[in-house]
Amino acid sequence: MPEPSYTWAEMMAISISHEMQDGDFGSVGAASHIPAAALRLAQLTHAPNLSFFCGGSGAMNPKIQRLTESSADYRNLVTSEYHFSLDDVVDFETAMRFDFAFLGGMQIDKHGNLNMAMIGDWDKPKVRGPGTIGLIFLGGFKTSYIYTEHHSPKIFVDKVDFISGAGWLDGGDARGKVFRPESDGPRRVFTPLGVFDFEPESKRMRLIKVHPWTSVAKIQAATGFELLIADDLQIVEAPDEHELDLLRTQVDREGVLRRYPSAA
């Protein structure tokens, strides 16, 4: 088998882009090249009415032809439609005006709860995380997308040590008892290995798409809890030439995603 002509980061951006819905309005955090590229790609393909805030920079709908190392980079702002303030961010987050946001964690559990605060004992943490930042707004987004560049059993744990962001909590109807009904839990999890949803009854993470270079067994081995597998599990095909071309010529001209390891 020849070396694939694309990287897992490019594949991941394309996979995410396919899940985006036209007309939605959302937010992507700082240092999140892959979702930022995915959203821009979706705008250029099936979702021209998608809108998003680009974390830190203040840029709404940047027409980035380059991915900046820091998405808080000022240069994103220059080609954007609107310069948002942090007031806007928390207003939209709290008022349930964002259809989605992309969020991650040092730990992600089987119900999509996220931890960015601390690993181990709260009084004497083994690892101190960078902090909870916007994760409480999982209770204010209409839905959310979880995203990680590292799929390992250390990230995907049975139960997070600390809930910075509430996913489906203990599963079932646990979440609905806490938050406003308009705010739903996470809809998808995106990793280098594939795409996941949450099974509607139990709200447990479920594999729905497998990226071309891996397998169900490898994904399960990289996950610290037992994964559910969708009945109609899809094996994702390699990116088509048109999408890859758009990504490389109109979204990521400087090849930030191409410098990630190739999809082995």
Binding site: A31, G56, E69, S85, P130, G131, I133, G139, A166
Partner: protein, 293 residues
């Protein structure tokens, strides 16, 4: 003629006492008031309570390494694309500093309430599903007088001093901040004393800028520190990019718990901000120029 508020970075922070609460501007690798932070470190100020923006980075980690910090409100503290903030992490794990376990809502709504001196702020159900109320006793509850329901509250945040970096400021303190998320205005309103470091000072006889582009009004600014490259090694939006080489140098030394070597080289061994710039040299500074305005 109105009095000028323009001074040096060193003079601008000379009055900040040990134990002061500081609202600190700058987002990730951008627009931190580094000349002011360096001057504070050089002075050896102690026991600061820091409330940085929700996306804090190198200046917070440096102030911790220099022993200036007693208490820190944490939403995010990290080095963004360069990873964790080593000194913050060590100090938090060893409890060398007190951590207020916070987040974006705590800081943004807290400062917003502080800007108006509201007594506190009630929120809809957000913290309820998380573990934050268990580790932060500032997250409390009261009764909603319109529904009778119990609602979660956070306190208003105010600072003794607000430190911010701007690209261009006039002598009265009207500050133009070119990039990032507009929030410095709210933090400034929540600060008793506002100090701006500014790459450039607008000539007194220059045409005034479009008033819609002035970020902080001069009437609430106490002093303006003229600090060319005052955000270095962070970026100054529209003026210069971040100095990646120096940020990596910082990260590598900090990760090995050798931050003192960095501080010795760039902060303690020079007398002031102009000495810092001389040490870096024209070639290096001008190589960072990035014109995007």
């Amino acid at each position: 003629m109105s009095a000028s508020k323009v001074t040096t970075p060193e003079e601008a922070v000379a009055g900040i006492p040990d134990g002061a609460t500081i609202a600190l501007g700058g987002v990730h690798s951008h627009n931190g008031p580094m000349a002011l932070v360096n001057a504070l470190i050089r002075r050896g100020v102690k026991d600061l309570e820091l409330i940085p923006t929700p996306s804090a980075g190198p200046p917070v980690d440096m102030l911790i390494a220099a022993g200036c910090v007693r208490r820190l409100h944490v939403s995010y503290v990290g080095l963004e694309f360069l990873g964790m903030a080593p000194n913050y992490r060590r100090a938090a794990e060893s409890k060398a500093i007190e951590i207020v376990e916070a987040d974006e809502a705590w800081i943004v709504y807290g400062f917003r309430a502080g800007a108006s001196r509201l007594p506190f702020l009630p929120l809809p159900a957000l913290y309820e599903g998380t573990d934050l109320p268990k580790v932060n006793d500032g997250i409390r509850t009261t009764t909603d007088p319109y529904t009778g329901n119990t609602v979660t509250t956070i306190p208003a945040l105010r600072a003794d001093y607000g430190l911010f970096h701007a690209q261009v400021t006039d002598r009265k303190g009207n500050a133009q901040i070119f990039g990032q998320r507009r929030f410095e205005d709210v933090m400034a309103k929540a600060s008793d004393h506002v100090v701006i470091s500014s790459d450039e000072i607008l000539d007194e006889y220059a045409p005034a800028p479009d008033p819609r582009l002035v970020s902080i009004p001069g009437a609430i600014v106490e002093s303006v520190a003229h600090a060319p490259y005052g955000s270095h090694p962070l970026s100054s939006p529209g003026h210069y990019g971040y100095d990646r080489e120096q940020l990596v140098e910082y990260r590598d030394l900090a990760a090995q718990d050798r931050t003192k070597e960095y501080l010795e080289k760039y902060v303690y061994s020079v007398d002031d901000h102009l000495g810092y710039l001389d040490k870096l040299g024209a070639r290096r500074l001008l190589g960072l120029q990035q014109t995007f305005r």
